[in-house]
């Protein structure tokens, strides 16, 4: 046998008729970062759940250090030195950082010695430069911190192999740099890392080897030095991918949405929006750039009506809507809002895909007739949208919980883009999507624009923003720093504004 840290041999797994993994073989060298790439629904998370003992494979075996091991539960995986950070975190929000980390640890004696754990965890966390309070309640930590808790947990459990399922999709671009430094440090500490991502540039930056999956099969497995992003994209999607959407120039219409000196507070009562004034025209995509947490969420929420303004006014085609209710804004005025945390705010996990598709329109014809659901119409509608958006699933009756992360995103986007809004607010629409899907979503947004919708496009991913927007405004500490025309918006110029440096 060769000296692989970890080998997966001929792993297959079906869910009903769907082959999520088909004879997958994967070899990981010790002390390397091994990237796993693949479209939404390609079977990456399924494979990792098998490796971590959460799913049982139908066939195949797993070797650690050349020895076949039976991994039939997370406990067995942890015992074999394998730990995993899931795409949707597995933390108990109501418990503290320390409690989450020691949860499930063996050999603790009768009484839990939390004080000692707190001390050790804070030492460990400091040695990696994490600023985490070990006694903080996890629920109250921002998502980037929660990720660190997950990683600390693996380190504290002495995991040798760390599986990270789309870790960068919850990070902002300026958090990615430090995160990669962390990966390098882990690597030099001898850890082996399996890193799932959709971002090809990340693969090129951090990975040693790459495996590309498509439809449950491994398409290629090769050292990074033998490939380039265009090649990877081709293997992954099975066609040439344009990294730039085609944007026709387009004349915009009258001002539809106008904010005049709007100020608002965040959940903690601090000023989050500071006298923001902006205009979005019909048939225009107005981008909001900025480092996460500079007021983007509050901006979207005040326009959607979820958050009251402290001062200032909001106009829709010249009528003042500052005091209009959320439901009136959505239903009567046509303001559509795609929230950033779609997993939390946008879907009902226990319901079917078809039901999730009509969350906003369930009480209207053709979905409801005389107060009863019309299952035929609901299914047809869902089938049309899911095929348009290429959502991978078994059927529209499947619970949405069992769709892959990226496909859940597509369901919400499909639902929100389908109406005929006047104003469309989208927050981070490309998060967790594969390159093909990003291309598609951006095209859909441009289709809306060409129909005359006023689009407010909020994203922390500057390149995607510059690809689709006609104008870009930059938020910094709640202030709109400046608005730049897309023809003049270079990454450098916008980047400076994002850092709070006025032009």
């Amino acid at each position: 046998m060769t000296n692989y840290k970890l080998s997966l041999e001929n792993i297959s797994k079906s869910f009903g008729t769907l082959k999520a993994n088909d004879q997958v073989t994967l070899d990981v060298r010790p002390g390397t970062v091994h990237a796993v790439l693949g479209e939404n629904g390609a079977g990456k998370s399924t494979l990792m759940n098998i490796l971590y003992g959460l799913y049982r494979p139908d066939e195949g075996r797993i070797l650690v250090d050349g020895q076949a091991v039976a991994i039939d539960s997370p406990r067995a995986a942890l015992a074999a030195g394998i730990g995993m950070v899931h795409q949707h975190f597995m933390l108990v929000g109501q418990l503290t950082v320390t409690e989450n980390i020691v949860l499930g640890m063996k050999g603790q004696g009768l009484k839990l010695d939390l004080a000692t754990h707190v001390r050790k965890i804070s030492e460990l966390s400091q040695s990696f430069g994490f600023e985490i309070d070990p006694e903080a309640e996890v629920m109250k930590l921002p998502i980037g911190m929660q990720q660190r808790v997950e990683i600390l947990k693996l380190l504290y459990h002495n995991a040798e192999v760390l599986i990270l399922d789309e870790p960068t999709s919850v990070l902002t671009p300026n958090e990615t740099g430090p995160f990669f430094e962390l990966l390098e440090r882990l690597k030099s500490a001898g850890k082996t890392i399996i890193f799932i991502t959709h971002k090809l540039d990340e693969v090129m930056t951090i990975a040693d080897d790459v495996t590309v999956m498509q439809d449950g099969k491994v398409m290629a497995s090769l050292p990074k030095s033998d490939t380039d992003p265009a090649n990877l994209a081709r293997i992954m999607v099975g066609r040439e991918v344009l990294f730039q959407v085609k944007r026709s120039s387009h004349a915009s219409g009258p001002v539809v949405l106008r904010l005049a000196d709007v100020s608002a507070s965040n959940t903690r009562g601090l000023t989050a929006l500071d006298q923001v004034t902006l205009e979005v025209r019909a048939g225009e995509v107005f981008g909001i750039a900025g480092v996460d947490g500079n007021g983007q969420a509050e901006l979207a929420e005040t326009i959607a009506g979820l958050r009251p303004v402290d001062s200032g006014r909001i106009f829709l085609s010249d009528s003042d809507i500052t005091q209009t209710s959320i439901s009136d804004r959505a239903d009567k005025l046509g303001i559509a809002y795609v929230p950033e945390d779609r997993h939390r705010d946008g879907i009902v996990l226990d319901e079917s895909v078809a039901q999730n598709m009509i969350l906003r329109t369930y009480d209207r014809a053709p979905f409801a007739r005389f107060g009863f659901f019309n299952p035929g119409a609901i299914r047809d509608h869902a089938e049309r949208l899911t095929s348009a958006f290429n959502v991978r699933m078994q059927s529209v009756d499947q619970e949405i919980r069992f769709l892959s992360g990226g496909n859940q995103q597509k369901v919400i986007l499909a639902r929100e883009l389908e109406g005929e809004p006047k104003v469309l607010i989208v927050a981070q629409p490309t998060k967790g999507l594969d390159v093909g899907a990003i291309e598609f979503v951006q095209q859909q947004i441009l289709v809306q624009r060409d129909r005359g919708v006023a689009v407010l496009y909020i994203s922390t991913e500057l390149e995607h923003l510059l690809d689709v927007c006609d104008r870009v405004g930059v938020l910094f500490s709640g202030k709109l720093m400046d608005t730049v025309d897309s023809s003049e918006a270079t990454p450098e110029r916008v980047g400076l504004l994002m850092a709070g440096v006025a032009a």
């Binding site: 959460l54 995993m84 020691v102 499930g104 839990l112």
Partner: protein, 313 residues
């Protein structure tokens, strides 16, 4: 009015309060334990009754209260196991399962008690636990007799409150139980067995709730009568909420209820011209008011009542 406020009367009311609270506290502890692990326990009522019947059977045949205690707990654990098998393994709706258990236990104990005790059922005097005094301590004015002049099971109850508290908040298993009740997927991913933990809690809860029934038989009435649980399981359920799923909190809620129950008994006695139904209402009224007013918005363990499965086929 003076008859309510003299030291003698206060001591009597407090003693009665405590004695009325004991079965509630045992049942509420059971509720806390099982709901903390994520299993809704509407079957407390049935488990009290199963425990009461077991206690009577054990004490009757072995002619000693300790055997009653053991058999009572076994019967409670049996009822708990039914909930565990149906609710945890097969994912049957936990409320439906709980109601079914309540109805089943009510019927089967009534039926079996006729077979076992026959005609002497209502005249029986089973061996039980007698109150005893801690010398010296029990003569402390007012509270002495209340706290130091009780029977063994009262002290067992306080010990159980401490034990459940210690278990939930100070041991690794307690942490695991709390995690399973809040986010079973996360607990599973941390290498814990969700079904094992839930089985453990639900069966232990069966034994605890049964102790409430044992107390009724072995320390209060010394016989078994049909449906002698009389709704105590449901009051305990409210106490769990009022006590915010905390064993000490739940105990306080039960004591509060027991106090108003004792008070209303006393008032009934003192004011016989007032229809007694009016006083009977008092404890229930107070618990409703407390639920509505005092606690704010109670937040149950997030996963309570929900079946957990790892992957769907």
């Amino acid at each position: 009015m003076e008859s309510l406020l003299n030291p003698q009367a206060i001591t009597e009311i407090l003693t009665t309060s405590l004695r009325l609270s004991v079965p509630l506290v045992f049942a509420a502890l059971a509720g806390v334990l099982s709901e903390r692990s994520g299993v809704f326990n509407i079957a407390l009522e049935g488990k009290i009754l199963a425990g009461a019947f077991g206690a009577a059977v054990g004490a009757f045949f072995m002619n000693d209260p300790y055997s009653g205690l053991v058999v009572g707990m076994l019967f409670g654990m049996l009822a708990g196991s039914i909930l565990a098998v149906l609710g945890v393994t097969f994912g049957v709706n936990q409320i439906v399962t709980g109601i079914a258990i309540n109805i089943f236990v009510l019927g089967i104990t009534a039926f079996l008690s006729r077979i076992v005790f026959g005609a002497q059922a209502n005249t029986l005097r089973l061996p039980g636990f007698k109150a005893f005094d801690f010398p010296g301590l029990s003569s402390i004015p007012i509270i002495g007799p209340v706290l130091f002049g009780q029977d063994l099971m009262v002290y067992l109850m306080f010990a159980c409150v401490g034990l459940v508290y210690f278990f939930l908040y100070l041991t690794p298993w307690g942490l695991a139980v709390r995690a399973v009740g809040e986010n079973p997927a996360a607990a599973d991913s941390a290498g814990l067995s969700v079904p094992k933990l839930r089985y453990g809690c639900v069966i232990a809860a069966g034994a605890l709730a049964a102790l409430g029934g044992c107390y009724l038989v072995l320390a209060q009435v010394f016989l078994f009568s049909e449906h002698m649980s009389a709704g105590k399981g449901f009051i305990a359920l409210a106490a769990v909420i009022l006590g915010r799923w905390n064993p000490v909190g739940a105990m306080c809620a039960c004591l509060l209820f027991g106090f108003f129950d004792a008070l209303q008994l006393r008032l009934q006695f003192n004011y016989q011209e007032v229809p007694h139904q009016f006083f009977l209402m008092l404890p229930y009224l107070i618990s409703i008011l407390a639920l509505v007013g005092l606690v704010g918005k109670p937040r149950p363990p997030s996963a309570v009542g929900r079946h957990y499965r790892r992957e769907a086929k």
